[in-house]
C-alpha cells in the first residue's frame, strides 16, 4: 500500500511453530472497508481462522491491532485490540484495552497489526523494535506473574517499551485468563491469556522510532480544537482527579484520595488520565503499589464484604496471575452453591470456600496453578457445567455464552436499570462485555431528550432515532410491551439502540479511540469522519464511516455463526426474571420481563438486518459489500 497518513503501513505475520516472521504491506481495502484497529483485526482473523478450530491449538490465531489514530495527537487514542477464538466459550471474541504505551509504540515500530499463529516449542516472547523483529527466549520469564514479567522486560528493553504479558494463569491455560497491557489494562476476558499460553507466548514487546504521519494539516487543526474543547470542559479536573469513581462510586472519594491514590496515569494521548497507581498507606499491606485501569476495579471485591486493603491485595494477586476477577468470583459462587446443594461433596472439597482474604488468595493460587480442586475451577463456568451438569447451570450466576453477566440487579455490579449496557450483555459476541453496548447508557437515568443529541453524535439516521425514541402516542409498539398509557412509557427501545451503540464502539475501536464515555463524548461520527479523512487521505463521510463499523460487527457475527452461535446463545439468563428484576432504564417503573427482552431481541435483530435467529440476511451482507462472506454463510446450509 502506498503510504497513507495514520497507518504504519505493515502487518507483521508471526509463525511460532516455524519460528518465522514476515512483514507484509497493509492492504488498502482493509483500511477503506474496516478502518483499521479492531475492524481490520476481525477481517484478518476471519480470513485465517478455520471454523471449529480448537482455541488452544496452534491453528488458532491471535490478531493484535492499533488503529490509524493511535500514536497521533487525537485525544484519548491509544486503544489496542485483540481478536482470537476464546477457550471459555469457543466464540470468536474481541478484546480492547487502553493501550498505555503499547499501541503508540507498535505503530512507531511500523506495524498496524501483528498476526500470531502456531505454537512455539519453548516459552518465547515477541520483540518488535522497528525492523528488528525477533522471537526471543522467555524461559527466564516463564512462571512469573504479570507484574514481574513486565518489570523485567522494561528493565531489559527500557521504557516506554509497550508490553502485553500473561501471568501463570495464562501459562496454565486457565479458561478465564487474560493478558495485561503495561501491567495496567486488562485484555481478553474469556481466555486470551490461555491462548497465548497455549502458544508458549509469554509476552509481546514493542518500541519504535518511525513516527506516524498525516495526510492533511486539517487533522492537526481538528486535534488542536478538540484539545481546547476538552481543556475548557468544566468537569475536567474532577474527572482527572477521580476517574471512573465519578460514575461508579464503589469506593468513598476520601478513602481513595487520602488512603490510596499515589498517581493518576494515562494512556498515550489521553488528557483525562483515567488510570491509577494505587498505594496502600497503612495496615497489613502497607507499601503495596498496584497499577490498575481504575481504582474502581481494585475495589470490586469490597462487594463481597472485604475491607478496601484486602480487596486491593486480592485483585493485585488475581491480576498478577493474569485472570479475570468476575469469572473467578463466579466460579467460587457456583462451587459454594453446589456444595450447599450437596452436589459437591467432601470427596472433592473439604469445606465451602470462604469469602475472606486468606481463603481467596489461597484459591487464586490453586486456580492459577490448577492445584487440586482449583483445576476444576480453572475450567470456568462451562467446565463446572460439563462436570456437574444441569445442577451447575442452576447454581451459576446469570451467564451468557458461558461468561457471567456481571451487571445486574443482584450484581456483582449491582445495577437494575435496563439500558444498552445491560441488554448488550446478551448480544455481545464474546459474551457479556461492558464496552460494546454500554457507552450510551453508562450514566444512569438521563432525560430522554439527551439521547436525541447523543444519537445524532453517533451518526444514527433520523428514521432510526424515531424507532429508538418513540413517543408513546406515536408508538404502536407501546402496546406490544404491555404499556397502555404515556405514564407507563419506557421511552427507550434498548434493543434498537444497542445496534448503533455497538457500531459506534466498533468505529471508535477501529480508529483507536478510547471506549470510555468520558473521553469519547467529545467525538461525533462527523468529527471522526473528518479526522479520518484528513489523517489518512481516504475521503469518507459519517454515513460510510458508521457503515465500516457495521460491516465489522456483521463479519464478526458471521464468524460466530460459522462456529454454531445463533439466537439461542443470545437468550437472557432465567434468573434475570426472578425478583429483584431489571426495570426500564428511564423511569424505573416497568419490570423487565422475558417477553420484553424477547421483543428487544427481535427489534435488535430487525434493526441489524438479521433474521429472527440472529443470522445476517443475504440483503444485509450484500448491502455491506460482503459477497464472499455471504458465500461462506450459504455453504453452511439452508438452516441459516
Amino acid at each position: 500500500m502506498s503510504k497513507l497518513g495514520g497507518y504504519a503501513g505493515s502487518v507483521l505475520y508471526v509463525d511460532l511453530s516455524k519460528g518465522e516472521v514476515e512483514k507484509k504491506p497493509l492492504d488498502l481495502d482493509l483500511a477503506k472497508n474496516y478502518l483499521g484497529g479492531l475492524g481490520a483485526s476481525i477481517k484478518l482473523a476471519y480470513d485465517l481462522l478455520r471454523p471449529r478450530t480448537d482455541p488452544l491449538s496452534p491453528e488458532n490465531v491471535v490478531v493484535i491491532g492499533a488503529g490509524p489514530m493511535v500514536g497521533t495527537l487525537a485525544p484519548g487514542s491509544s486503544r489496542v485490540c485483540a481478536v482470537t477464538k476464546l477457550p471459555a466459550n469457543r466464540a470468536i471474541g474481541w478484546a480492547g484495552a487502553g493501550g498505555c504505551s503499547f499501541g503508540c509504540m507498535l505503530k512507531n515500530a511500523g506495524y498496524d497489526h501483528v498476526v500470531i499463529r502456531g505454537r512455539s516449542p519453548k516459552p518465547v516472547y515477541l520483540k518488535v523494535f522497528d525492523d528488528e523483529v525477533e522471537i526471543c527466549d522467555a524461559g527466564w520469564l516463564w512462571g512469573k506473574g504479570v507484574e514481574r514479567t513486565t518489570e523485567e522486560l522494561w528493565r531489559e528493553h527500557g521504557r516506554p517499551t509497550g508490553v502485553i504479558a500473561i501471568g501463570q494463569a495464562g501459562e496454565n491455560l486457565v479458561k478465564f485468563s487474560m493478558a495485561f497491557v503495561d501491567k495496567t489494562s486488562t485484555l481478553g476476558r474469556g481466555g486470551l491469556g490461555a491462548v497465548m499460553g497455549s502458544k508458549n507466548l509469554k509476552a509481546i514487546v514493542a518500541k519504535g522510532t518511525k513516527g506516524v504521519g498525516f495526510s492533511d494539516p486539517k487533522f492537526v487543526r481538528l486535534c488542536y480544537e478538540l484539545f481546547e474543547r476538552i481543556k475548557r470542559y468544566s468537569r475536567l479536573k474532577e474527572w482527572q482527579e477521580f476517574g471512573l469513581l465519578m460514575s461508579l462510586p464503589v469506593l468513598p472519594r476520601e478513602v481513595y484520595s487520602e488512603k490510596l491514590k499515589k498517581a493518576r496515569i494515562s494512556c498515550v494521548s489521553c488528557p483525562i488520565g483515567d488510570k491509577d497507581i494505587i498505594e496502600i498507606k497503612e495496615g497489613r499491606f502497607k507499601g503495596l503499589i498496584k497499577y490498575t485501569s481504575s481504582a474502581v476495579n481494585v475495589a470490586m471485591p469490597m462487594l463481597y464484604g472485604l475491607p478496601y486493603d484486602e480487596a486491593i491485595k486480592c485483585v493485585a494477586a488475581l491480576d498478577d496471575y493474569g485472570m479475570d476477577m468476575f469469572e473467578f468470583f463466579a466460579v467460587i459462587d457456583t462451587v459454594n452453591k453446589l456444595y450447599d446443594e450437596g452436589v459437591i461433596t467432601k470427596e472433592f472439597l473439604e469445606s465451602k470456600i470462604e469469602y475472606n482474604y486468606d481463603s481467596l488468595i489461597e484459591w487464586a493460587e490453586r486456580v492459577a496453578y490448577r492445584k487440586g480442586f482449583g483445576n476444576v475451577l480453572a475450567e470456568g463456568l462451562a467446565g463446572l457445567v460439563e462436570k456437574f451438569g444441569s445442577r451447575a447451570m442452576k447454581c451459576a450466576p446469570p451467564m451468557v455464552k458461558w461468561l457471567t453477566a456481571y451487571i445486574g440487579p443482584r450484581g456483582p455490579v449491582v445495577w437494575n436499570r435496563f439500558g444498552t449496557m445491560e441488554f448488550g450483555q446478551l448480544v455481545g459476541q464474546r459474551g457479556p462485555h461492558a464496552a460494546p453496548g454500554g457507552s450510551p447508557t453508562y450514566f444512569a437515568v438521563r432525560p430522554l431528550q439527551d439521547f436525541v443529541t447523543h444519537l445524532d453524535r453517533m451518526g444514527v439516521p433520523e428514521d432510526a432515532v424515531k424507532r429508538i425514541l418513540p413517543r408513546p402516542y406515536e408508538w404502536p409498539q407501546g402496546m406490544r410491551y404491555g404499556l397502555v398509557s404515556p405514564d407507563d412509557e419506557m421511552g427507550l427501545n434498548v434493543g434498537r439502540f444497542t445496534r448503533y451503540a455497538e457500531d459506534w464502539i466498533m468505529v471508535l475501536a477501529s480508529l483507536g479511540v478510547c471506549a470510555r464515555a468520558q473521553i469519547n463524548r467529545f467525538y461525533s461520527a462527523k468529527l471522526l469522519a473528518d479526522l479520518f479523512s484528513a489523517l489518512t487521505g481516504i475521503d469518507i463521510d459519517k454515513r460510510e464511516l458508521m457503515k465500516c463499523g457495521e460491516r465489522a460487527w456483521n463479519l464478526l457475527r458471521v464468524a460466530n455463526v460459522r462456529e454454531g452461535f445463533s439466537r439461542k446463545d443470545d437468550e437472557p439468563p432465567e434468573s434475570w426474571f426472578a425478583e429483584p428484576t431489571f426495570v426500564d432504564y428511564c423511569k424505573g417503573t416497568v419490570k423487565i420481563t422475558k417477553e420484553i427482552v424477547d421483543m428487544f431481541l427481535d427489534d435488535y435483530y430487525e434493526e441489524r438486518g438479521w433474521n429472527k435467529d440472529g443470522v445476517p440476511t443475504r440483503e444485509k451482507l450484500l448491502g455491506l459489500g460482503l459477497e464472499k462472506v455471504l458465500e461462506d454463510l450459504e455453504k453452511l446450509g439452508p438452516a441459516v
Partner: protein, 77 residues
C-alpha cells in the same frame, strides 16, 4: 521560530500521556514521533522525570498541550 519562554515543570503532575512529546515532534518534524521530541518523559519507577534536549528552543508547544499542569508557560503566556 517563536520567542524563547520559561516553562514551569511539575513532574509530580505528569501522567505520562506523552502529549507533549507528540506535539513537539509535530511542530519540529511534521510527524507524530515521541522519539524525535525535544522534551522527554522518562518513567523512573513509579515516578516521571521531565527533561529537555540542549537544542530545545522553549517554544512552549508542549506546555500549551499539557492538560495536567505538569508543564505551564510561566506567566500564563
Amino acid at each position: 521560530m517563536s520567542k524563547e519562554i520559561v516553562i514551569d515543570v511539575r513532574p509530580e503532575k505528569c501522567t505520562g500521556c506523552l502529549i507533549c512529546q507528540l506535539a513537539c515532534s509535530l511542530v519540529h518534524h511534521k510527524l507524530f514521533n515521541p522519539s524525535l521530541a525535544k522534551i522527554s518523559i522518562k518513567f523512573v519507577g513509579d515516578e516521571r522525570e521531565i527533561t529537555f534536549t540542549e537544542d530545545c528552543d522553549r517554544c512552549g508547544t508542549c506546555a500549551r498541550f499539557c492538560a495536567y499542569g505538569a508543564l505551564e508557560v510561566k506567566g500564563g503566556a
